[in-house]
């Protein structure tokens, strides 16, 4: 048995009470630490549902999600929050930056959620990450005063702030042009190689998926293809 950093065990998700939509069918899936994974599939196949359940933002109807070897099934909301804060980084199709704060302050947010005040060390770290994503020049811009690509890169920097084991990205480049998209995937790879962060990325871009270590295709809530390179 492999050592999985994330494991999905018999997970089903059913939406609705009267008219039931089964989004996931008893799915079993594990991701190895430090791996770079792509999830593909048609729209409505259940990709986002799976990722949100892995990210503990949503609870499965049946089955369980094991993160770092610990089942999240019986964790309280507070415990789940701490788990997300410490071990998971999220990048969504929309950046969800806080428009009232600057890029740097947004990046510091996960740290401050855990520690209240941002000390010097954390500030320096946030700046380093902004350098890494190429935003050192706009770190003091309000989130609203940046281009779409810059906003998404800020969101990525924010996801990296607490040095998470796993980054979950749901169509992170869905709203960006192809050049920016390439830049962001190169960045993901760089972080994956340098920091050993596990990536689980939903994408509909075949070109991008082909660069991943593993491609999981979902069809109607079931795994239809699982290619490991």
């Amino acid at each position: 048995m492999d050592n999985f950093v994330v494991e999905v065990k018999g997970v089903s998700k059913v939406y609705g009470k009267t008219i039931k939509t089964v989004a996931l069918h008893e799915m079993n899936l594990g991701f190895k630490a430090g791996s770079f994974n792509a999830i593909i599939g048609e729209s409505g196949s259940g990709k986002s549902t799976l990722l949100n359940i892995i990210g503990t933002l949503d609870r499965p109807t049946k089955g369980e999600v094991i993160i770092n070897g610990v089942s999240t099934r019986n964790m309280s909301k507070g415990r789940l929050g701490d788990l997300r804060n410490e071990t998971l980084g999220f990048v969504f199709q929309f950046h969800y930056l806080l428009p009232e704060f600057t890029a740097l302050e947004n990046v510091l947010m996960p740290y401050r959620i855990a520690n209240g005040k941002a000390d010097k060390k954390s500030q320096e770290r946030a700046k380093e990450i902004l350098d890494l994503v190429g935003l050192e020049k706009v770190e003091n811009n309000l989130a609203t005063n940046m281009s779409g690509g810059q906003q998404q890169r800020t969101a990525i920097a924010r996801a990296l702030m607490n040095q998470p084991k796993i980054i979950l990205a749901d169509e992170p480049t869905g709203n960006l042009d192809s050049q920016t998209t390439d830049g962001i995937y190169q960045l993901f790879r760089k972080i994956n190689v340098e920091l050993g962060t596990t990536f689980i990325i939903i994408t509909h871009d075949r070109r991008v998926a082909e660069k991943a270590d593993r491609i999981v295709e979902i069809l109607d809530g079931r795994i239809s293809l699982d290619i490991v390179k």
């Binding site: 986002s48 949100n52 990210g55 933002l57 949503d58 909301k77 507070g78 929050g81 701490d82 788990l83 997300r84 804060n85 410490e86 999220f90 969504f92 199709q93 929309f94 969800y96 806080l98 428009p99 009232e100 704060f101 947010m109 996960p110 401050r112 959620i113 855990a114 209240g116 005040k117 924010r158």
Partner: protein, 387 residues
């Protein structure tokens, strides 16, 4: 705590128009409270001051008519010890009725004798003396200007008076006073202590001890303390409040109606804050959703909105205090009587203002409870799904 506070501050700063509107709402509420409060208090103070400001507010006298208090100075010491912070202007008064006879007419008067200096506290004789001088020597008296007019008495005249026991005395009129109350100006004749004591044959005794209190509204409590301290069955202690029950019930009616106004102002302020903050929860749901996705706990997220309520309350209270004091001052300055004196004196009660501000801040924070509860129920999934 710090993060929640910082986020609250940023949220308020980022929607300046909305923030300014709520702050203005709270400020107007607080200023109306302060204005009405200080108006009513000022009005009541001036009314009470006119009624009992130049009169004894607590009086100690023998229970039996015609008895005297011996050793008045020692008794005054005991009385003051009952509440040295409140009791002021004590004065021993020797008084009695007498008939004043002039060739044409005779009239009943009350002769009151006291130490001129001690009486200055309550009666402000020096200011009230409109002509002549105080009667410092034996058998010298001053009389009210209305009595002088009625009986056409002039300064330097000698008048004759008879006590109920039939004793006659001759007195030299050295001055006229005006106590600004016609009945007193017509019936009182004032003199020094010895003259009255000799005329009424009280020896060293005095008829009563009068005093005032710093806060006229606690006169009844102080009177009670004096009674306990004296612990003397032969003496009775009265205060102005028991003798002015009608005035007091009028005042308390006024206070109740001002309280009602304040309560309604408060309710409207609270409703305003609660509704605006409830809207802002919807406006900020993306931010709250992502903060929770990143691990912020529900109570912390709620705290962001409680802090917003608190900050709005503090800001509103400060602006409101400024407005309220300005309003009260303008009213006192520009709304005047015919003679130019203000209709209602300018009066700042910091204690009351403090309470108003405290209530506004508490109410604002509590008003934020409803939005705060909504925040804690917000599921980050809703936000993330809907983009």
């Amino acid at each position: 705590m710090k993060l929640a506070f910082d986020i609250a501050l940023r949220f308020l700063k980022s929607s300046k128009g909305q923030t300014a509107l709520i702050v203005l709402g709270i400020a107007i509420g607080v200023s109306v409270q302060i204005f009405i409060g200080s108006l009513i208090t000022g009005l009541q103070k001036s009314l009470v001051d006119k009624t009992v400001g130049s009169a004894p507010q607590i009086t100690v006298s023998p229970k039996t008519d015609g008895d005297f208090i011996l050793d008045a100075q020692a008794q005054i010491k005991t009385i003051i010890a009952a509440n040295p912070d409140e009791i002021i202007n004590p004065v021993a008064v020797t008084q009695g009725p007498a008939i004043l006879k002039t060739p044409e007419k005779s009239t009943t008067i009350i002769m009151r004798g006291f130490d001129w200096k001690a009486a200055q506290g309550i009666y402000k004789i020096n200011d009230r003396l409109v002509k002549g001088k105080l009667g410092l020597n034996e058998n010298e008296v001053i009389i009210g200007k209305d009595l002088a007019e009625k009986l056409s008495i002039k300064i330097g005249d000698t008048i004759e008076m008879i006590t109920p026991t039939g004793k006659t005395g001759q007195f030299l009129v050295t001055g006229f006073f005006d106590l600004q109350v016609k009945s007193l100006n017509e019936s009182w004749i004032l003199t020094n202590e010895e003259t009255a004591q000799t005329f009424f044959e009280t020896g060293e005794g005095v008829s009563q001890i009068e005093m005032q209190v710093k806060d006229v509204f606690v006169a009844d409590e102080v009177a009670m303390a004096v009674e306990n301290r004296l612990n003397d069955d032969t003496l009775k202690v009265t205060n102005w409040k028991e003798e002015n029950a009608a005035l007091l019930s009028g005042l308390s009616g006024q206070t109740a109606s001002s309280l009602m106004i304040q309560v309604f102002v408060l309710i409207s302020v609270v409703l305003g804050i609660a509704s605006v903050l409830a809207i802002s929860v919807v406006q900020k749901s993306r931010q709250i959703g992502i903060l929770k996705a990143m691990g912020m706990h529900n109570p912390k997220a709620s705290l962001v909105f409680l802090f917003q309520g608190f900050l709005l309350g503090v800001l509103g209270a400060f602006v409101g205090i400024g407005l309220g004091i300005g309003l009260s001052w303008s009213f006192a300055t520009f709304v005047t009587n015919a003679d130019g004196s203000s209709l209602v004196p300018f009066y700042i009660d910091w204690y009351f203002i403090g309470i108003s501000a405290g209530i506004a801040i508490t109410a604002s924070t509590l008003a934020a409870l409803i939005p705060a509860i909504r925040v804690s129920k917000l599921d980050p999934m809703e936000v993330i799904k809907n983009g």
